[in-house]
């Protein structure tokens, strides 16, 4: 055979592909004009892009940023772009953006929600990055830097600006020196945020947190003596006794003795706009996480009763629309609580939304649990860990890691759904605040600007979160390989 022996002595160098096989021409041929059908699609696509841009661009470009009413906007547009030209009246946003963002919060107190927002990222950083020094530090520092810029932008006075900057700087140093200790900031976040947002005496939120502290202490002390589960029951009982009978008394005494630490109280009905959306979204998701974990474990339990209760709750909640839950909060909850109990609508909404979210979170976590190899549970058993130790040390850390993208998606969904609270009369950014702003005769005729402004902000938050969760998902895939 002619070619059965062959040895190449000289290795051929790589060559450039022949002309026509690379570059713009080839790219266009492959991606735009590979067949007649594709060519038609390309032209339809180009036409769609052109139609979109040509119809909306003038409106955006003619936009007016400073004016005192829609009529003035129109006059300015008519003067600059000619009679009959249309344009956006961004002046409305320019004048009223603070209501879209903060509702009816005192303008001097804007530093409080902003600081709480920055602290949220500090609280998240040890959870998301598992106590790694560098990313935790970057996230804390970054949140601090952005906070300072935002505070300056909303015109905060120098004293509060430096206070907030000092707090963030201290946390950034803590993240650098001892990233593990940052977890305490995470644990303290609910009370801190509550104090910053609602104001009043610092002792009330501290009192609530003290209940958890008491529970942990009691549990630690007793678990060696009477076992883990009974100790947990006693601890829960002790905490309930504290919250139910002692807390009010102790905090009142403390508030009278040390009346220094307090902020001007802000009523719930001053909450509105994106502030409200974030308060509801973040508190509902954080509250729903522990409930969701318990429900997910319950659903996987061998015990018939516990499994039935969990499945029943999850399927019920997932079967009804969120609106019915909101109306339950506004209309029904009062029937099922002791007579004369009356508390804030926002709090009621948060409770019901948390229950709603917990069913969805439970399903996400169940997915995470299902993704774990069976061997993990068996390995934990073989090491002699009891059920709760195994869940806490082996199963949950892995399952939660897998579930984070799903949790982020749930949060995106919930964040978008916070606009529904307008239907029970709260001032969400979309309907509630828009109504308030348009009640002013000057802005009555602005139809599209609020939609575009609110929509753009939702888009920025949701899009970046969804990209982040996609990134996490990708990272998980490579980590597990």
């Amino acid at each position: 055979m002619s070619n059965s022996h062959f040895v190449r002595t000289q290795i051929l160098p790589a060559q450039k592909p022949p002309v026509g096989q690379t570059g713009v021409i080839k790219w266009m041929r492959e991606n735009l004009f590979s067949s007649w059908f594709n060519t038609i699609l390309t032209f339809i696509g180009l036409w769609a892009v052109y139609a979109l841009i040509s119809s909306s661009a003038p409106w955006f470009l003619n936009g007016v940023w400073t004016a005192s009413s829609v009529d003035e906007c129109r006059a300015i547009i008519a003067a600059s772009a000619g009679e009959g030209a249309s344009g956006a009246c961004w002046a409305m946003i320019n004048e009223r953006w603070h209501q879209f963002m903060f509702g009816f919060f005192d303008r001097e107190e804007y530093w409080r929600p902003l600081l709480a927002f920055a602290l949220l990222f500090v609280a998240l950083s040890p959870v998301l990055y598992f106590n790694l020094r560098r990313p935790t530090m970057i996230m804390t520092g970054g949140a601090g830097a952005v906070l300072v810029v935002l505070l300056w932008a909303v015109g905060t006075d120098g004293w509060h600006l430096s206070l907030a900057a000092a707090v963030m700087a201290a946390l950034a140093v803590l993240a650098w020196v001892a990233p593990k200790q940052l977890l305490w900031a995470t644990l303290a976040f609910p009370a801190t945020a509550f104090f910053l947002l609602w104001g009043g005496s610092v002792w009330a939120p501290i009192g609530v947190m003290a209940g958890f502290g008491i529970a942990v202490l009691v549990w630690r002390g007793l678990q060696g003596l009477i076992g883990v589960t009974p100790a947990a029951a006693v601890a829960a009982f002790a905490a309930c006794v504290w919250w139910g009978f002692l807390q009010t008394y102790v905090t009142t005494v403390l508030a009278q003795a040390l009346p220094y630490f307090s902020l001007p109280a802000e009523d719930s009905d001053r909450f509105g706009g994106f502030l409200l959306s974030f308060v509801i979204g973040v508190s509902a998701i954080s509250a729903s996480l522990p409930i969701g974990i318990l429900l997910a474990l319950g659903r996987r339990s061998d015990m018939f009763l516990i499994k039935t209760l969990s499945v029943g709750f999850i399927e019920f909640v997932r079967g009804v629309p969120l609106i019915t839950m909101l109306f339950t909060a506004s209309l029904l909850l009062q029937y099922f609580l002791p007579p004369q109990t009356n508390f804030d609508l926002i709090l009621r909404v948060i409770i019901l939304v948390s229950l709603f979210a917990s069913a969805y979170i439970a399903e996400v976590i169940r997915g995470g649990l299902a993704a774990l190899p069976r061997g993990q549970q068996e390995a934990a058993d073989s090491l002699g860990l009891d059920y709760w130790q195994a869940q806490r040390l082996i199963i949950m850390p892995q399952a939660l890691k897998v579930a984070i993208p799903g949790i982020v998606s749930s949060f995106i969904g919930l964040f978008k759904d916070t606009t529904l609270v307008a239907l029970v009369g709260l001032a969400d950014p979309l309907q509630g605040i828009t109504k308030v702003v348009k009640a002013d005769i000057a802005w009555k005729a602005a139809y599209w600007e609020p939609f575009i402004f609110v929509g753009a902000i939702f888009f920025i938050f949701c899009f970046s979160m969804s990209r982040y969760s996609m990134y996490l998902e990708q990272k998980l895939k490579t980590d597990h390989r």
Binding site: M1, N3, H5, R8, A14, Q15, P17, T22
Partner: protein
Amino acid sequence: MANAAKMQVTDEVAIQITAMNKWYGQFHVLRDINMTVNRGERIVVCGPSGSGKSTLIRCINRLEEHQAGTIIVDGTELTSDLKNIDKVRSEVGMVFQHFNLFPHLTILENLTLAPIWVRKTPKREAEETAMYFLEKVKIPEQALKYPGQLSGGQQQRVAIARSLCMKPRIMLFDEPTSALDPEMIKEVLDTMISLAEDGMTMICVTHEMGFAQAVANRVVFMDQGQIVEQNEPKEFFANPKSDRTKLFLSQILGH
């Protein structure tokens, strides 16, 4: 045991590759490939990973497009003409590393699908052929199961039978044993050897050097997208000429 009469190589050319080049974007994957395969010949292609061996055999049934040079299979030149591609693909069978059985169809349906829809064979006839080849790969009893219910080795044998049902004149094997557990490699190699004994023209990308020594007429060693050395197996293993070949052989044989 080897059926020497049938294993004769004829002078008829089955595949003729001339000055073939291929690029992925700017990356030059296959460089100036020249190769002639005669009918009845059994060729083993080996080389380090990323050397272009899989790409080469995927070019032969146009799963990959080449950009320069010619490939003529059974007298049909591979161009972008769909008719030629159809003709070549129905003549050339291919077995993949990951089997690629259709998981939603039973084994029997996997085997009869292409004969029925491409060859227009009546169903009963297609099923008879399928059973014949299933017996040949020694798993007729699995005919009504689904691929997911079979072991890796069984799945790969089904994949071989699936290709054979199209009565191909040339078979391409793309690392058929590298996704298998060691105890299953033998059953697949046995199937391939019996195929060779029947006189099938085969091009096989594999690292099974025992198989190469037992069955191949020729071993082709590739590196950096080019054919570095080819020779009869005895010569190739005993007397490698090129330094790259020596290095490669020492790595896979010399533990």
